[in-house]
Amino acid sequence: MLFNSFEFWIFFAVVLGSYRLLGHRGQNRMLLVASYIFYGSWDWRFLSLIILSTAVDFRVGKALVSPDNDEARRKAWVTLSVVVNLGLLAVFKYLGFFVDSAAAMLTTLGLQANLPSLHIILPVGISFYTFQTMSYTLDIYRGELKPTDDLLDFALYVSFFPQLVAGPIERAKRLLPQIVEPRSPTADDVREGIYCILYGMFKKVVIADNMAVIANHAFSQDPGSLTGLEALLGVYAFAFQIYGDFHGYSLIAQGTARLMGIRLMDNFNHPYFAKNPQDFWRRWHISLSTWLRDYLYIPLGGSRGGARKTYRNLMTTMVLGGLWHGANWTFVVWGTVHGGWLGIHRWIAGRANGAKDAVDSVAVSLVKVFVTFQLVCVTWLFFRAESVTQAGGFIGSLFSGFPLTEFVLIGYPLLAFFVLPTLIYELWVERRGDLFAMTKVHPVARAAFYLALVLFLTWFPAPMRSEFIYFQF
């Protein structure tokens, strides 16, 4: 059941209608059933994994505050939570990859490898809900959160359908109290919810899917046959495809939740206006980057312990963050390159420490934004490519001449047609410093903006509708 389908919106209309008729407890029960139906619409069998993860972490949460348990036992309980959740990920997401990689390595060493080839179906959204539910037990263990007594409320926290399959990865500290407490949507919730849904649909259906057509064309070619302008076009198109796709999903998740009075976190903050790699990660997939910061980077030591350890911790976090996205060496390289950019930026920023508070001129800001965007685009090559070899071929093609081919003559104008107005709008929002700036303008202006979004959604969907990229993670 995709957000960009009629089926979903009929489902959501029924859920929202029921929601308005029910009291708080009834709302939560109904939302839990709806969430399981939503998830089960992909594959009912994988509901068992969510239920297992939910049951284990609920029990662990209770055990962590039990006066009968000393520190050693508490550590054992939280370890159980981590092992179960990461174990699910390891089996369903990474086992095939590790077996294949081990077989390849043994073959390279000249050893006969008769390891079985595993074809395990990846349960949709498993990376998101396992991280979400782990944050619950980890926060209780750290003494930052009290466990809930209501299993069904907790089950809803784990499975809340708007953000179940592709985030944002909500922390229990933030989402669980909203589930436990009675709520009713305010006028602001409705206003911002409608904005999120419309703009999110626009970013997915108009931007991401149309850019996918260009990116798919480029990445379906032999990299050696592409000219520099064509390879660059493919990379730029993918950069805006993945941004539109994931930002669109996050916005629709926020919007649908807001219409029920639940606030999900902002997952994106104009990442392509970032002035450096660190700034990029403050703006891109914020729920994941803050999760990795809080539960991996800082526990590893963060920036404490000297420069060497800081670089090591940065790299470890980014490599594992890359691997979180998918069981493929391309994601490992993607994370490694990002770790490299972050390390270099940290080194440069450390040397220029005295000037860090200086305000950049417009020209300097533009250069920084431009350079950061190009660096990010290079990493997207690894993210999108089927193999590291293909990504390498693309990088080689970037320097292979710049003739105006048919693909260039159609691709760049389409890129400009779809992306430029969006960037101009987002620049306006960026300058206002408020992601919901559009909801504060005069109602007539907002209605005109919404009408334009609806007409674009109606008239300019891509020839082929596609799934959300982040579902595969």
């Binding site: 009629f6 089926e7 206003r191 409608i194 057509v213 064309h217 389409l414 109602p443 109606t458 008239w459």
Partner: protein, 313 residues
Amino acid sequence: MANSTARPSELWVILMVLAGLAVTEGALTVLRPQLSGDIRHLDEADDIVREVVQGEGLRVVVGGNSLIGEGIDGALLEQSLEEATGEEVTLGVIRPDGTGPLEWDYLYRRIMFNVEELPDVLVLGFGPGHMRDRRIRTQLLRLAVHHVDRSDLRRFFTFDGLDFEERATAVLASSSVTFGLRDRISARVLATLIPGYRQRALLLLSAAPSPSNPQNVGSYRHLEALLDEAAQYGVPVVMMAMPAQTPYDVEAPVVALSGRRGVELVDVNPIPALLGPSRYFDDQHLDAEGRQLFTTSVAPFLAEGISRAIEGR
């Protein structure tokens, strides 16, 4: 949480958006014929058939797609057939772009078989591979807007195995020109802004992933249904294989089908040796000069086919 009491309800914004959509719908309903010549032609299709069936003498409807549109001069063919048959001929040409039996099956039900009077013969012009059924999803909007009658929606849903999303799209497209004509509108806008858009867009679409693949793709179910319908109403059919820049063999299933159903097959694609490759403006469509030459040269063959088809009725 921000103070919400000072601002007007979002309901007003929604109402303004809906008003804007209503205005757009009204404007597009009025401007619809301006969007493309193909729409104007489709809007006139039932009038063309009506004029034929109310005409004198041998009443012929020639159906097809742009191969017929570019390859046949209707008035000239009418005159040439009169000369070849020695009787008065009333002829109309229905040639919506990019169509095949999938669309014709529904279109002719709506504009031909559901009216009281019928033509004496239906000629279907086709090119290589045109008679095969195609993927529904790529044609869905145009089918819903131009070809499938509201009363035929149920058949459309079941006969073509539409899933829920496709059914919803079809209903929406048949209810709203703003939605239903979206591919025409977007193509018009992009073609205005981007030089060479129509030709170059094909390059991108060729790499697009295939849409869902209904079980009947590659079959001839719609052609068979169309022939069934014509037989039921007693309208003889002549299938005419149109010339292409590279001569081709009519697919064996089409030949077999015509034999099985007793449908005349006039294969004129190898005939016009006089139509050298230079008579085409692309690999399939005849240019203006080729059109005149082909129309006059095909008439005797077509007259024979029509005569046999009527005799065999």
